[in-house]
Subunit: 117 residues, 2 copies
Amino acid sequence: MADKINLADKLALFEGYWQPRVVGDFNGHDLMVVKVRDEFVWHSHPDTDDFFLVLKGKLRIKLRDGDVVLGPGEMYVVPKGVEHCPMAEEETHLLLIEPRGTPNTGEAATAQPRREI
Amino acid sequence: MADKINLADKLALFEGYWQPRVVGDFNGHDLMVVKVRDEFVWHSHPDTDDFFLVLKGKLRIKLRDGDVVLGPGEMYVVPKGVEHCPMAEEETHLLLIEPRGTPNTGEAATAQPRREI
């Protein structure tokens, strides 16, 4: 029997922004937590939707046709192929879900490594 | 541009236990919210993992080799094929993720219909 996953406990285990940690597996997807602050990079994922759920803080997802602003308990799915740039003015904690191995920047060369906690 | 999804707002739109509502789509999966109370039925999903994230309340997932008890901000993935029986002593709110069309009871004949909100 696998352990339950307490998201806040997992987030307390590491520092650093835009460096997701894998906390579980679901149908070939990585379940990940991440701390973010400031602006990421404009990117898209050609083969997968991009799932964001805010656990703490406030996330702005910049899109070419407008922004989406999410607080705790709010989520958004960026459809595959759609350019976006996440940003946060304060430290913000997220749950992310992506197919295993998806580069977080959209490109393998610049992506964070896959790290489990 | 799609709307953001506020999970609490979605949960305020309906009543009834064990009747999930679809709030979004992610890689062919339904993103669903559900209110639960009392005991569901023992079942398994042969072809998909079963994702549970507690938003409010307390969920006990009974498994043949022990129980998992989840509070807000805690999640668990029941691996495909593993028998489980969710239950809650108090009204509990969940985020569920399953491939579109997965019967919530494990069997089409007894499953809740797919309803979007």
